[in-house]
Subunit: 264 residues, 2 copies
Amino acid sequence: MQQTGPVHNPLSNLLCIADGSSVCAVADPALREKIGRMCRVRKVKAGETVIEEGRKRSIVGVVSSGVLKMAKSMADGRQQIVGLLLPFDMFGRVFPSESGSCVQAASDSVLCTFDRPAFEELLRQNPEMEHKMLLSVLDELDAARDWMLLLGCQTVRERVATFLLILARRGSAKLSGNAPHAVRVRVPISRKDMAAYLGTTPESISRALHKFAREGMIKIVDHLTFEIVRREALVNASGREEFDRPEEEHRVHRLKERGLATVK
Amino acid sequence: MQQTGPVHNPLSNLLCIADGSSVCAVADPALREKIGRMCRVRKVKAGETVIEEGRKRSIVGVVSSGVLKMAKSMADGRQQIVGLLLPFDMFGRVFPSESGSCVQAASDSVLCTFDRPAFEELLRQNPEMEHKMLLSVLDELDAARDWMLLLGCQTVRERVATFLLILARRGSAKLSGNAPHAVRVRVPISRKDMAAYLGTTPESISRALHKFAREGMIKIVDHLTFEIVRREALVNASGREEFDRPEEEHRVHRLKERGLATVK
DNA sequence: CGGGCGTTTGAAGGATGTCAATGATAGTGG
DNA sequence: CCACTATCATTGACATCCTTCAAACGCCCG
């Protein structure tokens, strides 16, 4: 029942063109049509590898549903997740380079993929698309540097608090009209992945989370679901001031939020 | 004698246009001329701030000589250096965003600066330049993610070894024809900056360096100068395999390891 | 029901940050 | 040219956060 191979599916075009900020969101109908023909839908199961590290010939694409993780690893197996990819985020590396990150599905996902060389050609022929790509990569770069700050300067406790707040901000961006009580956060990845993302171990993550719970800042609903009970305390524990104002202002920050997942 | 303010200086054009890989290295003479007119030379002294964090209206530019550091900081003063900027590197953020890093001179430096909006306009009107900018930003993104691996996975000892090897590779890229004995490395920044770059403290940096010296891997010439005596030991201490081959071969070698017969 | 995997929890040890004192260096002004 | 001061680097002692190792627990799925 589960289709794993590449499929030609014009309907899916909507998925990667729909979002206004997407690289593929071009105005020209003919171009949209062309993009649609180039795009192939692929369904992957959790744990499946989409792009291998250091691979030469590969693909780029857009996440339609699910969560991908982009990771780099060392010879001895240590691994760092350098980005989470959520719906509308692009993955894969355009233009030559032997830099390596691998991309894996963190959950069952649906992807909209393009042959890399073909997509590059598309970019070269459409400066407007390439411009959007530049903006997108710049945002990713900002996000990566922000994560360097997290990894280089913050304690594990602070990192976990920051992570929860980022997820909460993204998740509640629209619904939280004015109800800052119990925001519910669903973490889209396992403890192990959280650890690899936050530069620590699953054990430390677990301890930090349960300490927050004991301190009454959050409520642990299940392994992956939390309720933020005392937000200001959590913000304080994160060591980051940028979470100080719960809303409005954050509309401006939306592009940056997107950085959590990041595009390419 | 030291000129600190902005100066109009056509001669300096060479500095930011000369390098083939630079964003400004365009073919069209008229465009080069235009870029030259837009460019202003500015000399800054060590410690001077070039761009403040979170600044709206600002500049972009190219480093002509000296070293700049790009840093992000937290409310309580903790600081992470997210990039070192060497000659030919661009600094500043094109296109709107309130992401903040500050840029400071790590040594006395000469810069070639552009008004940001004007430079953006230049990019928009020259897709070829914007393409080069994209490639350049993609490389920066790769570098940032590699640094995330360093900050998230490596021990302080490994980070210091990696840092030395990166400097050595860059510095000796051309001269070391076949003399892999004592490569001399000059660190362009203070211990405090090294610490902020490697996500640790000056004390830990100092200890790691002197431990390497006691172990006979390096020789400490002065605070900022080192000789790499036993390179393979240092590579081993870095935990990174990518330094295995001293030079160029290293690219070829890696491809071969992956089973790709052809080399470009 | 039983096995396997992911999570949690505890105990112990290590790596690294912190604090403090000393030593080295450079720039300053007499 | 020589103190003198300020800054940076080094070194040691100590505290602690965090990883590591091990075991128990819960949950999903066969």
